[in-house]
């Protein structure tokens, strides 16, 4: 059985790589059909999705409308879905079937823990499906048609008689699939459009709740403890008394602005804006009790923030792909310019605070 049977008995299988689309998730999937696992099911509300057809075309597998026909899990090479982020997104990864979601979305829903990078990729469009360069996979049984594996590209040209014409990357198949009965026209476009928008808002909501749970709520708990302690024990009034002379006149504020921006001090005060946030909270208690008039809040906000980011200069420059010499020059430049711009900011804020 050395020659490849052209009429599809043992078609030429090719490895295909599916990468994540724009705003998608996942490192991408490498799919290689085998004689007993070559079906690409398209579970996208009926019909065969262009992405599913393209994967089947390129890999030599077979696209199946998973909405209408039942396919054994063992035979499924990959499942193409347009999932809202709850059900299908979790079901196929749970069965360890490589899943290609045409909508953007991160692992979510009740089965989120099964969705891993080696089994799921999202926001995929037909352009994101590509052949893995060069080697054509010899089918389990037969050798490559032209025998020599080396000449793989030519071998592929006459491999699958019904398959697409040769050439490195077959053109996108046109819509006139053989038994493709997908609903067509305005409603499909409108439906997928609305589906995409709703899915994006859902993904955004999921991102906001994650952020709240991981960042905002913990900080609120910590700040409330601080507030409770400071208010209940009356230290707030004592601090108010201490800060009042400083923060109720511009000279005091400018003084704070300079002290905070001292080059040897600002990197210590900078981390996580801890100092700025604690003073912001304490200032809030002073404003609530009326000890600090609201118009002095504006210059004070700038007075206590002269050190923002001074602990992060080298890392921030690194993020901007700065060269070594740039960081050597940049760190002192930023620290020394703060000595000028921090008090200057307080003056500008004080001028802008009239009429509050």
């Amino acid at each position: 059985m050395t020659t490849v049977d052209p009429d599809g008995g043992d078609p030429q299988y090719r490895p295909v790589f599916v990468r994540a689309g724009r705003g998608g998730w996942g490192q991408g999937l490498e799919l290689t059909p085998t004689p007993d696992k070559y079906k690409v099911i398209s579970v996208t509300g009926g019909g065969i999705h262009p992405v599913a057809r393209r994967i089947a075309e390129l890999s030599g597998g077979e696209a199946v409308d998973g909405f209408r026909t039942k396919v054994e899990d063992a035979e499924v090479l990959a499942a193409v879905i347009n999932c809202g982020g709850t059900a299908r997104i979790g079901v196929y990864p749970r069965k360890r079937i490589p899943t290609v979601d045409v909508f953007p979305g991160e692992p979510g829903g009740p089965l989120a823990q099964f969705i891993t990078e080696d089994i799921f990729v999202s926001a995929v469009s037909p352009e994101d499906v590509s052949l893995l360069e060069g080697q054509a996979v010899t089918a389990g049984v037969g050798a490559a048609a032209a025998g020599a594996v080396g000449t793989a590209p030519t071998a592929r040209t006459d491999a699958a008689e019904g398959g697409p014409a040769g050439g490195p990357l077959p053109p996108l198949p046109d819509e006139s699939g053989t038994e493709d009965r997908a609903p067509r026209g305005f409603f499909v476009k409108f439906g997928t459009g609305v589906g995409y928008i709703i899915n994006t808002f859902l993904a955004a909501a999921r991102q906001s709740i994650n952020l709240t749970l991981n960042t905002v709520l913990p900080f609120m708990a910590y700040v409330s403890l601080l507030l409770g302690f400071v208010i209940y024990t009356g230290i707030a009034q004592w601090i108010g008394g201490l800060l009042a002379p400083l923060s109720s006149n511009p000279i005091g504020l400018i003084g704070i602005g300079i002290v905070v921006a001292l080059p040897f001090l600002s990197p210590i005060l900078g981390p996580g804006a801890a100092v700025a946030q604690i003073v912001g909270v304490l200032m809030g208690t002073q404003i609530a009790t009326g000890a600090l008039p609201v118009q002095y809040a504006l210059p004070t906000l700038f007075a206590i923030d002269g050190q923002v980011g001074c602990d992060f200069v080298p890392v921030g420059l690194g993020l901007g792909e700065a060269k070594v010499e740039t960081v050597e020059v940049g760190v002192p430049a930023v620290l020394f310019s703060r000595l000028i711009t921090s008090p200057l900011a307080v003056i500008i804020a004080w001028l802008a605070s009239f009429g509050l």
């Binding site: 955004a204 409330s224 504006l298």
Partner: protein, 215 residues
């Protein structure tokens, strides 16, 4: 749990017993729980006052960014990198709004080496004023502004006038910081005799920009 709730509802015992030790223990017990009741009240205030608006605003903003997409913004950023007036206003604002803290500084890659410190200085100085209207941009450091806004809210006034001024002055300050830091960076380059080196970086930057392959 019941003990805590009981202590919370029960008014402090009026007829204290004569035994001073018992009084002391009761005093300590009351104030110990009183402290955490106050903290609990503050936490409830934060949750009801700030969190609902914050979560809905975060959702809206994340969706808008997903729709706009980073690559559309990249072209606008590269355009704004040309002149100092836009390099220290529009560019840091776009960077912080679209990429949020700390990824905003990666837009530094579109600049000449000599401009990177100044861009970083102006972008990082915007991460606190931006939380007035766009808290998602720096959700880790909300309480610089929220601490103050919480006080103004408890005073019964609206926080918007203060927020608008904080944002506006923030923009003016980041422009000044950018210009001053750029000036000092150039001065340091000259003083440490690295002018030739940075000129070569500028040439290299011009080449890549001309080649249209700006990363």
């Amino acid at each position: 749990m019941e003990a805590i709730l009981l202590a919370q509802d029960q008014p402090p015992p009026t007829g204290a017993s004569t035994n001073p030790v018992l009084n002391g223990i009761i005093w300590a017990g009351e104030h110990f729980i009183g402290l955490f009741n106050e903290a609990g009240k503050q936490f409830a205030g934060l949750i009801t006052g700030i969190l609902p608006t914050l979560i809905v605003l975060l959702t809206f903003m994340y969706a808008v960014i997903k729709f706009i997409g980073e690559d559309r913004v990249t072209r606008a950023v590269q355009w704004s990198a040309k002149w100092w007036i836009t390099r220290y206003t529009i560019m840091p604002i776009l960077a912080v709004l679209v990429l949020t803290n700390p990824m905003a500084y990666t837009f530094g890659r579109f600049l000449r080496e000599r401009h990177k410190p100044a861009f970083y200085d102006s972008a990082v100085s915007f991460v606190h004023p931006v939380t007035t209207f766009f808290p998602y941009a720096n959700a880790g450091e909300l309480f610089v502004w929220l601490g103050v806004a919480n006080g103004v809210m408890q005073l019964g006034q609206s926080t918007v006038p203060l927020a608008v001024r904080y944002f506006a002055v923030g923009v003016v300050v980041i422009l000044i910081r950018g210009v001053v830091t750029e000036f000092i960076t150039n001065y340091l380059i000259r003083r440490e005799g690295k002018t030739a080196l940075f000129d070569s970086y500028d040439a290299e930057y011009a080449a890549t920009a001309a080649g249209g392959s700006a990363r």
